[in-house]
């Protein structure tokens, strides 16, 4: 009797569940293939938090501008999170049509055959790529195939506290060489009170130094580390010497970008390397603090150089020809002159087209806030980040080894970088 009752209860619970769960699935699973007005839907996953509203505004404009398709833009976490989601979604075959991928990770996706060959599409309609800023197209090719178009792009800049420079009588056009930067930092430092210079000791910025010193990060075929050559060791040593002397602050590795920016904004540091993408927030946060910020190129050693960062738009393979064409129309539109101007104005990312940079709108902005102009001028010296799939992991190792050389007594720059290079060669040869 009781046994029966138990069985009955369990049975009812099971039936209830089997009703509730699929129902709950159907309701939320309403990712329709068609929009309300019957247009096919193109899924676009992006990785922009705060800046996301500008991306979504552009997409909405696109949906009003044409009536062939409806683009559905959704935020999927930061670059790394979005990329892991894409990988899982590809395995499950429910990935979106269009997404953004961080410049250095394009290779990993292209190698896996996940990205549509855009070169074919460009050829089909006789489109010219000449208008794209050459320095930003570097991370768009894999095996000589065009797989991505530049979208939200940035480079590092040298930020300076103009008032502090004037206070100690330094030329406000800023240091142009490594030696000058060191000299500036020394003069700007007040022991126990402020540092002359600070930056995240991070691989992205290390790349800049290696390039400036005439070095390379990886061999051309991407199979060997070259960053532990003299050019790389000298670069790291240069930072280590300034840190030892107490004229450069080494922020904690984990939040290096945040902490160094905070020190700069709070006038605990006079100069800073940070992304162009930070310009907007730096200008916002110094409002009413009584000082001015000026920007300039990263100083040179042998030559001026800067790595470009940020993300590119890609179309993911395995959608039908029609969807691919529709996705392509959207990607093309997003990177056109008007849209890149609008996005750049809203976020501080750089315009990706020369005609946009030359436009009256942008020129007016550069006139008003010359800090933005520097980033664009510096593009002439922009270099692509290494694109081989293993670099994704290697760059973390390089950052860790740099920290080890800086923080641990008795570890030389050469030792640390060689250790990273050996790990790197293992990863690269896979």
């Amino acid at each position: 009797m009781n046994y029966l009752k138990t069985k009955l209860t369990v049975g009812i619970a099971a039936i209830l569940l089997s009703i509730v769960i699929p129902a709950c699935g159907n309701e939320a699973n309403s990712v329709q293939q068609q929009s309300e007005d019957g247009r096919p839907i193109i899924q676009f996953w992006h990785a922009f938090g705060g800046a996301g509203s500008s991306v979504e505004a552009l997409v909405e404009e696109y949906n009003n501008y044409q009536n062939e398709v409806y683009v559905n833009a959704t935020y999927q976490g930061d670059y790394l999170e979005n990329q892991s989601k894409i990988q899982a979604a590809i395995a499950a075959r429910n990935h979106p049509d269009v997404t953004v991928i961080e410049a250095g990770a394009i290779g990993a996706f292209a190698k896996a055959g996940a990205l549509v060959d855009l070169g074919e599409l460009v050829k089909q309609e006789d489109m010219s790529l000449d208008d794209f800023v050459p320095g930003l197209l570097g991370n768009s090719y894999w095996d000589d195939t065009l797989v991505a178009l530049p979208f939200a792009r940035s480079t590092p800049l040298l930020y300076m506290n103009k008032n502090m420079l004037e206070e100690v009588g330094l030329d406000i056009s800023g240091p142009t060489t490594w030696d000058e930067l060191e000299e500036y930092a020394r003069k700007l430092t007040i022991p126990e009170e402020r540092y002359g210079f600070t930056t995240a000791t991070n691989t992205w910025l290390f790349e800049a130094l290696v390039f400036q010193n005439g070095g390379e990060i990886l061999s051309e075929d991407g199979k060997k580390s070259l960053f532990h050559s003299d050019a790389g060791v000298e670069a790291l040593q240069y930072w280590m010497d300034m840190i030892d002397e107490g004229i450069m602050k080494n922020p904690p590795a984990e939040r290096g970008f945040d902490v160094s920016q905070q020190d700069f904004v709070n006038q605990n540091a006079a100069m800073l390397f940070a992304s162009t993408g930070s310009l907007g927030s730096i200008l916002d946060s110094i409002e009413g603090q009584g000082f001015e910020v000026i920007t300039s190129f990263l100083p040179k050693k042998e030559e001026f150089a800067t790595p470009s960062g940020g993300s590119n738009l890609v179309i993911l393979e395995n959608t039908s020809e029609e969807r691919q064409q529709a996705a392509w129309e959207f990607v093309k539109w997003m990177t056109e002159k008007e849209q890149t101007i609008q996005f750049s104005q809203a976020t501080g990312y750089m315009p990706v087209r020369q005609s946009a940079i030359d436009s009256e709108d942008m020129q007016a902005i550069y006139e008003n806030s010359p800090q933005f102009k520097v980033a664009v001028d510096q593009l002439a010296y922009a270099r692509p980040r290494p694109m081989v799939p293993a670099y994704h992991e290697l760059q973390v190792i390089i950052t860790i080894e740099m920290q080890r050389a800086i923080l641990e007594d008795g570890v030389s720059a050469q030792e640390a970088l060689t250790a990273a290079a050996e790990r790197g060669n293992e990863l690269l040869s896979k």
């Binding site: 009781n2 046994y3 769960i21 709950c24 309701e27 899982a88 499950a92 905070q262």
Partner: protein, 275 residues
């Protein structure tokens, strides 16, 4: 003698106050930051109290996404998980605590092992499974994987083991069914432990970020933590004032529930401590 007593009492107070301060500080920091202007969040030395209390931050955070949906989803998901966990965890704990059957130790060990595997490791197979059922981007994909809990089985089994055998035997003499014994004797006896587990489970799933982020693609099927994480920005750093305002929206329900359940939680810890 009396003096010594007072001194000890005073010392006790000082110690307790220090502990309270340590625990309160993050909350204090969150609350004040939620009201600051952006430039105030960047100041160092920090401004403890904002010049102006900006309620606007909450409006901005709320309007940054479909927050009402996030709330409804968060509540639906956590409540469903809790209900399912009760239905699966309590009978399982009862069986493991009170029955000897073939392979019981092996099964229990198997359950304990799942405690040691992080979600990041198994998300891909689960994702593929959910995808083949067509459940990706649905609330079901956030609920089903957590329909039971190894931690809960472990915790409640321990509590069930402490129920005196005499009680159960007396009930059996009165011809109570196993079902009745479980719900009428075991569960009330282990109530503080069960409430504690429910609270742990609630907090875990209410705050979970990784799982909902992976399993859902569209804003309308997402939960609060994913919506709040969106307030961060990649290249330009975070607007901490908005992030903290968002966090307040997330934390307040937890605090309310905690204060409601506080009495039982303390009891549960006392029970396990006094043994």
């Amino acid at each position: 003698m009396k003096l010594l007593n007072y001194l000890l009492k005073g010392l006790n107070w000082v110690l307790l106050l220090t502990v309270i301060l340590i625990f309160i500080f993050p909350f204090f920091w969150m609350i004040t930051t939620a009201f600051k202007s952006f430039s105030e969040t960047m100041m160092f030395p920090p401004k403890w109290i904002p010049d102006q209390w900006l309620w606007q931050n909450f409006v901005d955070a709320w309007q940054s996404g479909p927050f009402l949906h996030y709330y409804i989803n968060s509540i639906t998901v956590t409540v469903s998980i809790l209900v399912l966990q009760f239905l699966t965890v309590i009978p399982a704990s009862y069986a493991f605590a009170r029955y000897r059957f073939k392979g019981d130790r092996f099964l229990f060990a198997l359950i304990m092992i799942t405690l040691m595997i992080p979600a990041q490791l198994i998300f891909l197979p689960v994702y593929l499974q959910m995808s083949s059922w067509g459940l990706i981007d649905s609330l079901a994909s956030l609920i089903i994987p957590f329909a039971s809990s190894a931690f809960g089985i472990f915790l409640i089994r321990q509590a069930f083991k402490q129920v005196p055998n005499e009680l159960i035997e007396a009930a059996r003499l009165d011809q109570a069914s196993e079902w009745k014994i479980m719900w009428k004797i075991m569960v009330p006896y282990a109530k503080p432990t069960i409430i504690t587990f429910a609270l742990f489970s609630f907090i875990t799933h209410w705050n979970d970020y990784f799982w909902p982020l992976v399993m859902t693609n569209s804003e309308l099927s997402r939960t609060l933590p994913v919506g709040i994480a969106r307030l961060r920005d990649i290249d330009s750093g975070a607007s901490w004032n908005l992030v903290m305002a968002g966090n307040m929206l997330l934390v307040v329900p937890i605090l309310v529930i905690f204060f409601l359940a506080q009495r039982h939680i303390i009891k549960a810890f006392v029970y396990t401590g006094v043994k």
